[in-house]
Amino acid sequence: MNLLLIILIPLLTAVAVLLSRNKQQVKWISFAGAIAQLTLSLVLFFAFRNERAAGNTAQMLFEQNHPLFPAWNINFHLGVDGISVAMILLTSFVLIAGVLVSWNIEKMTKEFYFLLILLALGAFGFFISLDLFVLFFFLEISVIPKYLLIGIWGSGKKEYSANKLALMLMGGSALILVGILGLYFSSGRSFDLLQLSKLNISTSTQHVIFPLLFVGFGVFTALFPFHTWVPDGHSSAPTAGSMFLAGISMKLGGYGCLRVATYLLPEGAKEYASIIIVLSAIAILYGAFATMMQKDLKYINAYSSVSHVGFSLLGIAMLTQTAMTGAVMQMVSHGVMTALFFAVIGMIYDRTHTRMVGDMGGLMKVMPFITTVLFIVGLCSLGLPGLSGFVAEMTVFVGSWENADAFHRIATIAAAASIVVTAVYILRAIGQTAMGPIKAEYLQLKDATWNERLAAIILVAGIVAIGVAPFWLNDLLKPAIEVIMSKIAGK
């Protein structure tokens, strides 16, 4: 399996979109590209499983390494482990759903789809890169489209949101860049992730570089208190934009925190773990309480994302194998779930032209499909067994509880207490949207169209597949997490 295909297909799709002549072509080319990419991701998933089953225990599979700037020792080094495969699957699911729900974009359709695919391209490249320079390059590729997507197709105070998002993410990127350069110079000039992981970077260096990288990536994944771009950015973005932001972009940060910061600098991770635990526990509860007060559906999901993503960071900082597995599961689970949530919100907004829960009510009567999906995604968000949220959160908690001291226990209980608050706001939002008496002006509204149904079904399948049979994800992640854990244990 050639990993170049993973970035080639989105690239070709993006070019084809630019060359296409009308809106219909743009849409169908994008859709075809997304299908091809989803198929390819599934092929990759099964090829990866087969390799592992055949006894290939290499840390990274399907590696390839091409010199890019030999003078600076920058290489186009690609390879995947279980974590990357999971992230690639996630990205393809969100991509196809995003393409489908944007079917009715009228304004600058071509540019819209181009940016959407470019954003996904950045994410795909990011997840397969093993060279920090290339990885950083792909990370930046994904930032610019976000700014434009919000600034051009957004709603509300979109300029403010777009600026805030771009500046905060750029700030995070600056920290990451400094961190990567620090690694480069302290390691004898290497950007290579695998080479760096084998070096013994001195503890004092780790203590300096780790916070730069972790906070830098943390900004991308709404590390408290650097989360404020999330609510504004998500709520101003067009539907597919929010889906990509929360479903994919925030995962770039989580992946970076784990793969780059924690894996390469385990001593740094140990040093700062307790601070991260405190911050993520705050994010979890703070996000949940802040959500309770929101009246705009998008703000509700944005703040609840802050809360849910906190579980990923908490799981990483707990530094146990179970918690870390849970952290990655939570990234995947939350990615699919939140994309679905934003998709449904978009569908409702397109019909009612409001996102204020107080102005809705009784929509179940006219849109049984959309409200049923809203129910399912809400239940996933509040951690109902059978859907992905439960297994991911449960795994994080079980892993966190393995740390027997009072500090970790309290943090875990505090984080777990959020499941009650989550139930409060989710049920309130669903109840006010779907139940109760319906307004007369909403009686004529139509249920979901074919493309919306398809998008929703694809994503629902994702959360059910993880929720009912999490073992395939566990198996996929296991060797990769073990490598990180043994590095942390200092072996």
Binding site: K164, L167, M168, P225, T228, Y286, F289, A290, M292, M293, Q294, Q321, T322, T325, G326, G361, G362, M364, K365, L379, L384, P385, G386, F390, V391, M394, T395, F397, V398, G399, S400, W401, E402, A404, T412, I413, A416, A417, I419, V420, A423, V424, L427, R428, G431, A434, M435, G436, P437, I438, A469, P470, F471, N474, D475, K478
Partner: protein, 630 residues
């Protein structure tokens, strides 16, 4: 004939299929098809459950591991079912009573639109499915999955009439209160995993049997599990959702109160009896909370005027009795009471449904009266239910309540005294309900009076079956004092629950206690007869007002928990988020803007100032170097 246990996975599968068929096909199926599918799948499960029961009776038990649900590191949680005496008994209750409720529903809900009728039956099937998962699960995680599923279904069914906003509120309340309990349950699971390494009943109980838990661990785990149970089984402090759950259709109330949901907490503790027996502290707390709930709910029930509310509080109170039994170590008595209670409470709820049906949706008993003439089947079956719950021999409630009172007596006379007092209150408020509803003159409107009719056979036949069960259901647990070898239930459950070890009470004392409670209960019934046979509407005053308003507990919760939490959320949102954090973010932006504006002044384009600055900076560098060298 070993194979019934091998294919026991069919038991939950049938209702799941029913849920899928009715849920997805609700627009295409006719009402009768929906009713037949919905009830048929439960009947199929019931038949399977009988088969399983027959196998288990011969001493076969079976733990089936199907696949690894979660496997992370060293931890693996299998998707496993455990079939033994305890689970098979619950299977019978759930599917048997559940089936009757389904049949009844098909008639009761007949005026609903086909689409909603399908939705209703799919929820009902899902409810039974979750409950079956809960009792069949072979470890705490599978139990938890069923546990949450039950919570979800109750939410869906309580809010079934989704167009009414207040029903939605009741549904939310039920789910959220349960969630608080679930949180404790979850933490108990983490704790168990940390200590034992997995959550399989067998391993956990073996671990406990070898006394490997420290006192702190076992007390912590059992207390947390108990908090979980207080949520689902509506005990202090998490009981207030259950009476509000009356918002759902009446057969749903019957399902929640009798066959499923509220018995989950009892099942959980009975299942974990090995753990509970290790912690005296927890046992005492369980007993006290149970008794306090029983008493509190009974006092509230005295003054309620909604027919379903009275029954709801009586459920809370009866559940309190069951927890009292658990807390005094009489696990079998608790399970016994679950069973008899399932019969008579399902009967009473379905009976109240028949009354509400006849009254055209009226639920206030002050507007009823004299219904015995028009609704004779309902009346007689309701009467049977009241006698059973009041505990008059030989009706079923007598035996199970007697077992509980006896175990309370063995523990302490004070517990016994309060429990007996509560049992008397039970007799009083139940017969108050009966007499106000069925005796005296009709107090409703003429239109209602004209409309009064007995319910159709599909509703009365389940009532009759349940009435028969309420009469004879107690004979499986006749106390040793009355009949040698009469306590078949204890013998049946003995592989799972070790026989109760209390200080044995002499037979003569036991006779005395039985006679005392029976005489007093009859006295209470007579008192109720004199007070309520010709009920005249009157307003509650003084202390009665407090009881009518349920001791103002809901208001108290709003004041001390709900409102402060809302205020806290508001504070975070309007102050911390908007002012502090965004303030800093925007502030940073402003500082950057400001400093760049200042910096821009330097680029004035005048060569002179550039040279001046160059010289100045060189000077600074030299000076710095001079000092730093030193």
């Amino acid at each position: 004939m070993q194979n019934a246990l091998q294919i026991a996975w069919l038991i939950p599968l049938f209702p799941l299929l029913g849920f899928l068929i009715n849920g997805l096909g609700r627009k295409h199926l006719s009402k009768s098809a929906i009713g037949v599918i919905g009830s048929g799948v439960i009947l199929a499960s019931f038949v399977m459950s009988i088969w399983v029961f027959l196998q288990v009776k011969d001493g076969n038990t079976h733990v089936a591991d199907y696949f690894n649900f979660i496997s992370v590191g060293d931890l693996s949680i299998p998707f496993a079912f455990q079939l033994d005496q305890l689970s098979s008994l619950f299977l019978l209750i759930i599917t048997g009573v559940g089936f009757l409720i389904h049949v009844y529903s098909a008639s009761y809900m007949h005026e609903e639109k086909t689409e909603h009728f399908g939705r209703y039956f799919s929820y009902l099937n899902l409810f039974v499915f979750s409950m079956l998962l809960l009792v069949m699960g072979g470890n705490y995680v599978i139990m938890f999955i069923g546990w949450e599923g039950v919570g979800l279904c109750s939410y869906l069914l309580i809010g079934y009439w989704f167009k009414k906003a207040e029903y939605n509120k009741a549904a939310n309340k039920a789910f959220i209160m349960n969630r608080i309990g679930d949180l404790a349950f979850l933490i108990a699971i983490f704790w168990i995993i940390k200590k034992v390494g997995n959550v399989n009943y067998h391993d956990v109980f073996q671990f406990a049997g070898e006394n490997k838990f420290s006192t702190a661990d076992i007390t912590g785990i059992t207390l947390l599990l108990f908090v979980g149970a207080t949520g689902k089984s509506a005990q202090i402090p998490l009981y207030t959702w259950l009476p509000d759950a009356m918002a759902g259709p009446t057969p749903v109330s019957a399902l929640i109160h009798a066959a499923t949901m509220v018995t989950a907490g009892i099942y959980m503790i009975a299942r974990s009896n090995v753990l509970y027996s290790l912690s005296h502290t927890t046992m005492n707390i369980v007993a006290i909370v149970g008794l306090a709930t029983a008493l509190l709910a009974a006092t509230i029930a005295l003054k309620q005027n909604d027919i379903k509310k009275v029954l709801a509080y009586s459920t809370v109170s009866q559940l309190g009795f069951m927890f009292l039994a658990l807390g005094t170590g009489a696990y079998v008595a608790a399970v016994f009471h679950v069973m008899t209670h399932a019969f008579f409470k399902a009967l009473l709820f379905l009976g109240s449904g028949s009354v509400i049906h006849a009254m055209g949706g009226e639920q206030d008993i002050r507007n009823m009266g004299g219904l015995s003439k028009k609704l004779s089947v309902t009346y007689f079956t309701f009467l049977v239910g009241c006698i059973a719950i009041a505990g008059i021999p030989p009706f079923s409630g007598f035996f199970s309540k007697d077992a509980i009172l006896l175990s309370a007596f063995e523990k302490s006379p004070v517990l016994y005294g309060i429990a007996l007092f509560t049992a008397l209150l039970t007799a009083f408020y139940m017969f108050r309900l009966l007499f106000i509803t069925f005796s005296g003159k009709f107090r409703g409107t003429h239109e209602q009076e004209h409309h009064l009719h007995e319910s159709p056979a599909a509703m009365t036949i389940p009532l009759i079956i349940l009435a028969v069960l309420s009469i004879i259901g107690g004979f499986v647990g006749i106390p040793e004092a009355l009949m040698h070898g009469g306590d078949k239930l204890s013998a049946f459950l003995s592989p799972v629950i070790k026989p109760h070890e209390g200080t044995p009470v002499s037979h003569s004392t036991e006779y005395g206690l039985m006679a005392l409670s029976t005489v007093l209960v009859i006295a209470m019934i007579i008192a109720a007869w004199f007070k309520f046979r010709n009920y005249q509407r009157s307003e509650a005053a003084g202390f009665g007002k407090v009881l009518e308003n349920k001791w103002y507990v809901d208001e108290l919760y709003d004041k001390i928990i709900v409102n402060p939490l809302n205020k806290f959320g508001g504070f975070l949102n309007s102050f911390i988020e908007k002012f502090v954090i965004d303030g800093v973010v925007n502030g940073v932006g402003r500082i950057v803007n400001y400093s760049s504006r200042q910096l821009r002044l330097l680029q004035s384009g005048q060569v002179g100032s550039y040279i001046f600055l160059m010289v100045l900076s060189m000077l600074v560098v030299f000076v710095l170097q001079f000092f730093l060298r030193k």
